[in-house]
């Protein structure tokens, strides 16, 4: 399949599957799995074709006279990494959705989402970027709204409206860019062409800040996470939030470097606030999934801090932490959802002693928790160390406050493990049978393997991550 086909085929497939199948459907499941695996191999094959620097043109479509509406598909190292991460996550999400209800429709939506997200990461035309950006919302809205928990409609609407509102800001910014520079293709736009870069910067920053999310625009996320089914939470944290971070790097930092430099302190301050604020929220939280959600926001705060350094090391650290965060938070969400599914409660006090009933699942939960608090040997540590070092290099000694974040992380993670996994069994846990679908467990095991593997051998990732920001290495004196 060519690049354009890999974007639009999923929509056709999704339509076909949703028309011809109902309810439980192995065809849908395997179709999704097959498609996502193909997407992974497609993304991996891109790495070999990429030029040393800059973009690889995959095709141009829909050329219209007098208006820059061309769908130009181009990828560079950054977007290829995002494509790969997304396809890996999609495969694992498909595996962990194996026993979901109403599979035909569910997997159709998942397939539709995959098409939209691939379009987003491959298109360099801002209009098409926006179209795909909005298209991801549609399947997400239904996935939360149909398969969610009791207050799913509220959460889905809040999620949709909030991020949609942010999209409006982004759209305004895109039109401003077009008006001032005459191009929608962001590879052709330079900051010097723009007349009002500050306005555009703020519109884009707030728009993407909602998606990441950055304090004070984060409140849609805990609601969405709590109501969403566990695999969709993984998709939210692993792909949707990463869209925000990707856009922040691509369209704020790389597109408007001078204005970003000017407002780096804004990004840094909000990143620090996000990290500490969410960590304290997590400490106070007794709702298991909300705790994980706040932990996720806290880690995105770390990513924001790394982005704000605008340095070679810092952006590499940010990208590594984005990948690490996706792999670490995913098993936490999945297992939290599994415990809820089995015990019927989200409250930690109703759990306890689950290690005695489900030792292997609990062990993966512990491992992911240790990743979240940044223990060496996991991806979490490498991420935190890189961010600490790059932040200290860029902003000076006082950035060691980042280390305090991992203390708070230890606080909520270890105490959660104590309440949920260890200790005496609660009455509910005693009466529960913790049996897991093999496919779901396989997904968890793969996540656990990634956490350790890339935590011990981070260079396998950095070999690809560093070149994504190699334009920074040529800046004299900059890191």
């Amino acid at each position: 399949m060519s690049a354009i086909e890999i974007i639009f085929f999923p929509f056709v497939l999704a339509l076909g599957l949703s028309l011809f199948f109902r309810g439980e459907s192995n065809v849908s499941k395997f179709a999704a799995l097959g498609l996502f695996s193909y997407m992974l191999s497609f993304s991996l094959s891109l790495f070999e074709q990429l030029p040393e620097e800059g973009y690889l043109l995959l095709g141009e479509f829909l050329k219209v006279e007098r208006f820059d509406f061309v769908l130009r598909l181009q990828v560079d190292m950054l977007s290829t990494i995002m494509l790969t991460l997304t396809s890996v996550l999609l495969i694992l999400v498909a595996l962990s959705s194996w026993s979901m209800k109403n599979q035909a429709l569910y997997f159709s939506l998942l397939i539709m989402f995959s098409g939209a997200i691939f379009g987003l990461f491959m298109s360099t035309n801002l209009l098409w970027f926006f179209i795909f950006w909005e298209l991801t919302l549609v399947p997400m809205y239904f996935l939360v709204g149909v398969w969610g928990a009791e207050r799913r409609i509220f959460a889905a609407v809040k999620f949709f409206l909030y991020t949609h509102f942010a999209s409006m800001l982004i759209l305004v910014a895109f039109f401003l860019i077009y008006k001032e520079s005459g191009a929608f293709d962001f590879t052709l736009v330079r900051e010097s062409m723009l007349l009002s870069p500050v306005l555009i910067w703020w519109l884009l920053f707030i728009g993407f800040a909602v998606k990441m999310p950055i304090f004070p625009f984060h409140t849609w996320l805990p609601d969405a996470h709590v109501q969403a089914p566990a695999p969709i939470s993984v998709l939210l944290a692993g792909v949707l939030l990463k869209m925000g971070a990707y856009a922040m790097i691509r369209l704020v930092i790389l597109l408007l470097p001078e204005t970003s430099q000017q407002y780096a302190w804004v990004i840094l301050t909000l990143g620090l606030i996000t990290m500490f604020y969410a960590a304290f929220m997590a400490i106070y939280e007794t709702h298991l999934k909300k705790m994980v959600a706040y932990s996720s926001i806290s880690h995105m705060g770390l990513v924001v801090i790394a982005i704000s350094t605008m340095s070679y090391a810092g952006l590499s650290a940010a990208l590594y932490e984005m990948i690490g965060h996706a792999f670490i938070i995913a098993p936490l969400f999945l297992i939290a959802g599994f415990f809820h599914h089995k015990t019927g409660s989200w409250e930690m006090r109703d759990m306890g002693g689950i290690m005695q009933k489900a030792p292997y699942i609990s062990a993966i939960f512990v491992l992911a928790g240790l990743g979240a608090l940044g223990l060496p040997g996991t991806m979490g540590f490498v991420g935190e160390l890189s961010i600490l070092i790059s932040a200290v290099k860029s902003f000076g000694l006082w950035m060691i406050v980042v280390a305090l974040g991992s203390m708070l992380g230890a606080g909520y993670i270890i105490w959660t493990l104590r309440r949920v996994i260890y200790g005496e069994m609660s009455e509910v846990v005693k009466a529960t049978n913790f049996k897991m679908n093999m496919m779901e467990f396989l997904a968890l095991a793969i996540f656990a393997l990634f956490i350790i593997l890339f935590g011990i051998m981070p260079n396998t990732l950095f070999e690809y991550i560093n070149p994504a920001f190699s334009q920074f290495s040529s800046l004299g004196g900059a890191l």
Binding site: L176, T219, Y284, L385, G423
Partner: protein, 616 residues
């Protein structure tokens, strides 16, 4: 040699996995693979030791971050070798001992896997070349300690103890983590040897160096159970005794001292040694006095560990690397012996830990009592046992150093002398006199010779023999035989104080227990007892602070703000949209959803923005 060193690093980690998998087939395989691996590790270390000529130095780039490279390296010199010998030697004996101690436990694969993982962490720590690999080893041990303390996680107390251990040590660890960032910023290198030489050459800003040294020392305080981060060490006694012996008596708790010793030149140049000595002195006093009144066998040993580690810190703090490190080595050996001896008693006495229910046990386990007497003599500092030489040297150093003579040396002296009181109390209450719980006494089994008594005797012999090898140890840890620090009359004074105390303890705890009880029931004595028994309420204060200030006030306030201000604004905007929609609906017929209402809002906003943009 390099490949041997790398084997030493990789073997325990892979072995840990192997022991677990084999143990799942048959749980005895877990023990045998651990025993075999423990022995192999010890033999490799011996080989490294015997063929040592110059430091093994291996440097890798762990990963490249942008244009910065993050190092990972191995550096094994004589100081590391001493620590390696302790870790692998005692590790092997501990695994051997666990054969009987853990015999009834259904989760042996998990146990041996964790113990091997721990030994791997310790090896990584002591053979680290740079701050990153040091921190990795440091955290691996912390993790293993957490997992092993809460080994019996189905019970409340061990599970809580694990949390306490992890959080207390983690609090220290983040300072070490921050120190990595600071050093990278200040010096651009994380190599420990370069840091030492840069510090000595004066290439680093002195105030910053002091700050870094204090940060690293906070981590050391956490890991080595010093004031004020010691309460976790007492709770850690909830874990299996074999774990207490290895991790919380002999190896992991030493790592704080090791890190100060490793960066000794840095500390000297930063002039941060006085802080080390001061905190050491406070901890030594707290540990020694609290050990006097504990009723649980292991708690006495835990406080004693705290106090003796402090002595090693004081030795370093007073400026003598040799005194501090030799005490560390001596202490590791006799404390492992005492802990394992305690393990033998506890195991034979149906897992009762309360000393007041023991008494007269030397009739049942003579060899254990003899071995423990060796440990006790060494701990008390009676010549020619090993403990005497290092303790004497530390006290002499503090007296001769003008900065530490006075308060610090007095506290050191008190702590040093008191050790004889609590250890003789422990030994006498357990082994001498009449048994105080005949029911329990009747059930006491004689421990097996090969699995239990033999390792104890080996350690007892080593403790005795070490007394004659002190110069060799000093040469290894500090590179040269220092001149004997000597204070006239110190030896005589110390020995007479020790003898006097021993006699007092014997009289009051064996001959006239009735008088002791009468004295103890006085109100003042009760109050003092309560203060000491609870470790000066340090844990109480920290717990109160965290519960009521950090969580109860700070986190709660943020939670309130999030709910009532940040999120309320967002949810409130729905009301705003509804009002706007109300106006808009007057112009339209039919139904409009919330959704499209906001859509319209969005479009309006867009128009305004484009207009504004046009004007600009």
């Amino acid at each position: 040699m390099n490949s041997l060193a790398l084997t030493l690093l990789i073997l325990p980690m892979t072995g840990s996995l192997l022991a677990f998998i084999l143990g799942k087939i048959d749980k005895r395989y877990a023990f045998w693979s651990a025993e075999f691996l423990g022995l192999a590790l010890f033999l490799i270390t011996l080989k490294l030791y015997s063929s040592y000529s110059e430091p093994i130095d291996i440097a890798f780039t762990w990963f490249t971050l942008g244009s910065l490279s993050i190092p990972f390296g191995i550096y094994i010199d004589e100081l590391s070798l001493v620590m390696l010998l302790i870790a692998t030697g005692l590790g092997f004996l501990d695994i051997h001992f666990a054969h009987d101690y853990m015999a009834d436990d259904p989760h042996q694969p998990r146990y041996y896997a964790k113990v091997l993982f721990f030994i791997g962490g310790m090896i990584l720590l002591v053979s680290a070349k740079d701050m990153v690999s040091l921190f990795m080893g440091w955290e691996f041990m912390g993790l293993a300690s957490y997992l092993l303390i809460s080994f019996w996680h189905q019970q409340k107390a061990p599970a809580d103890a694990g949390v306490s251990a992890f959080l207390f040590t983690r609090f220290g660890d983040i300072f070490l983590f921050a120190a990595i960032g600071m050093l990278f910023y200040l010096t651009g290198t994380l190599d420990l040897m370069s840091l030492n030489s840069m510090a000595t050459a004066g290439d680093i800003d002195k105030d910053m160096m002091y700050l870094v040294a204090v940060f690293i020392f906070i981590a050391a305080i956490g890991k080595s159970g010093q004031f004020p981060l010691f309460p976790w060490l007492m709770r850690a006694m909830e874990g299996p005794t074999t774990v207490s012996a290895l991790i919380h008596g002999a190896t992991m708790v030493n790592s704080g001292i090791y890190i100060v010793a490793r960066l000794f030149d840095f500390y000297v140049a930063a002039e941060a040694l006085l802080v080390v000595a001061a905190f050491g002195a406070i901890s030594a006093f707290i540990g020694a006095t609290s050990a006097l009144v504990q009723s649980e066998l292991k708690k006495v040993l835990a406080y004693s560990t705290m106090s003796h580690l402090s002595l090693a810190f004081i030795g370093l703090g007073a400026g003598s690397l040799a005194a501090g490190m030799t005490h560390l080595v001596n202490h590791a050996l006799f404390k492992a012996l005492l802990f394992l001896g305690a393990g033998a008693i506890i195991m034979s006495a149906s897992h009762v830990k309360d000393m007041w229910r023991f008494g007269g046990y030397s009739k049942k386990m003579l060899f254990v009592s003899i071995a423990m007497a060796f440990g006790a003599l060494s701990l008390s500092g009676i010549p020619p046992f090993s403990g005497f030489y290092s303790k004497d040297a530390i006290i002499a150093t503090t007296l001769l150093n003008s900065e530490t003579s006075g308060l610090i040396s007095s506290l050191t002296l008190i702590a040093g002398v008191l050790s004889v009181a609590y250890i003789s109390r422990l030994w006498l209450l357990t082994f001498a006199g009449e048994n105080r719980d005949s029911e329990l006494f009747a059930k006491v089994k004689k421990p097996s010779f090969f699995w239990i008594t033999l390792p104890l005797l080996v350690m007892a012999f080593a403790t005795f023999a070490m007394g004659f090898m002190q110069e060799g140890i000093i040469e290894m840890v500090s590179g040269s035989v220092a001149e004997e620090e000597h204070v006239n009359g110190l030896l005589f004074g110390l020995l007479s104080a020790i003898a006097l105390l021993a006699i007092i303890v014997y009289y009051y705890y064996v001959k006239r227990l009735d008088i002791t009880k009468k004295i103890a029931s006085q109100p003042l004595m009760k109050a003092i007892h309560k203060l000491l028994f609870n470790g000066y309420f340090v844990e109480f204060f920290i717990h109160y602070f965290v519960k009521n200030v950090v969580v109860g006030s700070f986190a709660k306030t943020i939670h309130w703000i999030d709910k009532n201000i940040v999120d309320a604004t967002v949810n409130g905007s729905k009301e705003f949209a509804r009002v706007v929609k109300g106006y808009l609906m007057k112009t339209h017929s039919g139904q409009t959803s919330d959704n499209s209402g906001t859509m319209i809002l969005g479009v309006l906003l867009l128009l305004v923005a484009v207009l504004v943009g046009g004007v600009l």
